[in-house]
Symmetry: D2
């Protein structure tokens, strides 16, 4: 592979779903070239052994993870590894001048104690972590521009925060009234063999899990919500597993401070809030999103309702958990970091049905 | 067909999903015999033309709907018709001495104005309606025993009310804090050809509909909740369509009045409340229901969590929308009406997976 | 548990899907009582830890596998273990007087060399294997009556052989023209965590595997077909994985010897062949089976077509892979072994849809 | 809309799935601009009323179908109408100088009597029909270049013919031994409300339909096969409905004339045959396609196996039924017609999973 005028990028952890989405997206991206694909257990294998359908277009041998090789060869590095590994690699990569986009949870928390509580890994990379920014461009676009290290948000968090942000930022809802009932396809669990993610188990059924604050995305959502509100707050977050492959729908409930607000007011506020966000689409009055409208795109669709009987606002937020909820968002952050057009190389229209 | 010592029963509206579940259940019921199967557009057809897989076991010709014939032949009549038709038939059937179990919405409301508002049908059968009871045996078992006419609950309502009833009856939650986020398989929409229920449309996706109090089950749920609480109250109810055939999960959120209550307290209360309810299974601490655990049974599984960070109780309720949510509940009501064992002829164990 | 007048039965390997189906079926069976449930990795756990939905009805502690304990306590033993383990247990159990129904492949082959070739396990239990019968009652009912040991057929084999048997037994088709294109739900892969059986992988897609004679069910099907035809023959068998939980459809193609035969002739032949088979339902002219018609039942539905343009017969055979294709068939064999009504305790009507 | 240097194109029948795929593809196509979107029942509606997720990117008002308007405004016209309507429009559009790509069956048959037999519509447009070419570029690329009117192939036919063509063209298989066992997602039935395509009916199940030559795609496949073989022949074609939205897998069986051929020989032949076909990907030895590898792309993946026990070749062919099986293929034909790069505007990499 020769880089030409394209920027050389590397992907560490290419065997998982995050990795394969990144490859799919970056293959179509006009400004980069994938020059390194690394993995641990898959090192030495041709990529097509893991994903045969890509063999005709992309088939490098997966290399073992060697930070010197990576930083020599790549200007931008995506880390798509299980939680707790990126924090051992990012300090060296950043020190060597790489721009690093981490898809794991390692750089999502400003408070590393919170991270350690939930992810059971002690951290020593305080300086590196202090440089990281939370990679949700719709909220932190300007901060992303300046950084070398981005902690890309979790999929549930992306869907939930895009629904909640205008409400919290504008102080429209009663504190701590927010309830997020989230529904995810099973690809969110990754490509690991687990009994509960088998089609035979997860097909044909719906259930909640990690109820009552027990999901790792709760502290991540709360940290950003607290930042938006200007003080600490708690939200109720309940994830559910859906019998489908891709997509997240977050149905968010909150009590309005001003019961006089109607749906049109909220739509005006949401449209204004996301005026310069190319990937957030606020739906018209009475239209609520389907997750598959966002499938294969980096879009987030928002539907907004107000129930004046109960003084609640209800916001429905739909994304593709593997794109806007993961790899697409990382590419969006890369575009911003590099000063490129934010939408570069990112699909904006789904195939339907 | 000769009735022997079995009680002769009839099914009006046998072509829909409610009808075919009833036939499946009543074929295995030891105390009844199906002696009449009637329909409108399907009259004259052999039943196996509609449901070929049943042809080997049950294949009467569908008769046209003639109330005299029905009341002459049947002691018990199940009405499985679209909303707004049962109220034209039930008065005569009851007058002729039939026990009537209606699966539509027609006899679910004590306040017929509420019915007319939501179902756009004027009502004149006040006397008949006044005799009807809401057929949720776990709440109204004793009333069902005395009546000739049962309005069997909607599927969403059954799942929601079984989750909420102990909280409201015991006054455990703050008024109007209840939010029901409900998820249903598409069979709930019936066997009518509709674009939005096509597999191509509803497959692979999740979305909400009739948000903000706009679903007909909202007034039905509120009427029963108000009855339980002893005064009028409103709940938030949001239905979602799932990419699966059968099953409903209702995730119910409410704020506890006493923030000192913990999960074990709630489990004790739920177990006590449903002590004599053979079809409600309160799950142990930390176990949350899957809808397919209830598939093909008349069970309702309840999982209970308390979030002491937010002072909320979260109850998850899973049923088979076509059995406990429809035809099985009607059979359960019949058993009670007739003084039979409540569980007679009703399946209690699912096939898993 | 006290056995009363019920026959005490044991299940070895209760944690898999075969085990949980057996428990579901035997709980409803009027002549037996489950007195032993054993497992290897799950020993010591309450059964409800594996299958929480059954906890309310059945929750023994899983015992470790001790053949003396089993044979002391049980008159009938079901072995639901991975291939290659039953042949180490069955000799002793049979010697101690137990009736053994093995759900694995260990006793499906009269020729143990074929077994060893495909399952890579050397066999020494020649005497025990010689006593075993292939547990497909529709073909070998009379032989099953006499035996102590039944090798229950594979799921693909059951669907395929019930479609092919009348053609081969009556010599109606050209030798070796038979092609079986089989489609299975993913539960056939069992409850083991495997990447290719994840919902994220197997959802939303269809593909063939083990093409061109490479599936272990090929020699099993060929052995029975050869027995039916009276001499060795080969068939083409191609399995496909479907995006669904349960069910197998085998579409079988074969060239008719007599091109003058029409569909009605074939239907007559099939109806005669299965006249005394209570679980095989030959569908009327022009009706072809859906797998879900058989779901939750021990039925096999057969649809028969003749294409007089091509002189081929096409037979479609639908079963529930976990019931008629596995545990239900084992119960059917038990009923025959014990001289009970063949249909005892076996469901014959599906819930639809 | 102003056309600039882009070619103005129109879509007639934009409300169906074919229409919405075309719009999705043509929106990304660098050489065309959609200047007309027409429909019958949907005329006067904004397009977003039918497909709300596209509203942010594409939202013209659907116009009524007026051939003068269309031919005045458009240089290229796609007809995505039910069978039997295009043949009333194409003559006038072609006469006025439009290039017409018809997605229906109307121009797929050189023999209009065959068309009339199967589609029950008398034809009078002999001259126009004689100018049409069958739009399968991999077989008729050179003919497509010269024509004004393309009859785009059916989805089942595309998958089947790409699998069979090398075998027939090279005379490798015994005549009339070909059997096509095809599996399709339900989107192939279109966006019409039909009971059998409901998720409640088609979910969770597999079944065959139109067995024994009764499907309209049989004569279409046979006509092309006969053309390839140089004389009339018949094939066995059996369609099956899968519980999934998109995708077709055709599993094709045929007996080899030369039993000495092995898999590697066949792979060499297939690779040579499709050397200049940018959308056909022949998979390596032992790899068989999944339909979702092709989802959202214009690719056809072919897996080839030889069973030397039975002297059969087995070819598995996977496409996206709505893209390579319909609208993508029409765009590919347009590219060829216009002398553009064949792959222009057509996606070549799926998102997986």
């Amino acid at each position: 592979m020769s880089a030409g005028e394209r920027i050389p990028v590397g992907i560490v952890g290419a065997s998982g779903y995050g990795g394969v989405q990144l490859i799919r997206l970056l293959q179509d991206h006009p400004r980069v070239e994938i020059v390194y694909v690394g993995g641990d257990s898959s090192a030495g294998k041709p990529f097509s052994e893991l994903y045969p359908h890509l063999g005709h277009a992309f088939n490098p041998t997966i290399e073992k993870i060697d930070l010197d090789v990576i930083s020599d060869r790549c200007q931008i590095v995506f880390l798509g590894l299980p939680n707790g590994l990126a924090c051992d690699m990012a300090p060296q990569l950043v020190a060597k001048g790489c721009k690093v986009l981490d898809l794991s949870a390692d750089y999502r928390f400003q408070n590393l104690e919170t991270y350690t509580t939930w992810y059971r890994k002690e951290r020593t990379d305080y300086d590196t972590a202090a440089q990281a920014v939370y990679g949700l461009p719709e909220l932190y676009r300007n901060k992303i521009r300046d950084r070398d290290l981005v902690g890309c948000p979790g999929c549930y968090c992306t869907a939930s925060l895009l629904a909640l942000a205008p409400l919290l930022k504008q102080g429209l809802i009663q504190e701590e009234s927010a309830i997020i009932d989230a529904k995810s396809g099973t690809s969110g669990a990754g490509r690991q063999a687990k009994v509960n993610a088998l089609l035979a188990e997860a097909g044909n059924t719906v259930g909640a899990y990690n109820v009552a604050g027990a999901h790792r995305h709760t502290p991540e959502i709360e940290a950003v919500c607290s930042d938006l509100a200007g003080h600490d707050l708690r939200v109720q977050f309940t994830p559910h597993l859906m019998p489908m492959v891709r997509g997240i729908l977050a149905t968010v409930y909150a009590t309005l401070r001003d019961p006089g607000l109607v749906r049109e007011d909220l739509l005006t506020i949401y449209n204004a809030f996301y005026r310069s966000a190319p990937f957030v689409k606020v739906l018209p009055n009475g239209v609520y999103p389907q997750t598959k409208w966002a499938a294969g795109t980096n879009l987030c669709y928002l539907g907004v309702a107000v129930d004046n009987r109960t003084d609640r606002v209800i916001v429905m937020s739909a994304i593709d958990n593997m794109i806007k909820g993961q790899s697409g968002q990382a590419v969006q952050c890369m575009n911003i970091l590099m000063g490129w057009e934010e939408t570069l190389g990112l699909p904006q229209l789904a195939f339907y049905p």
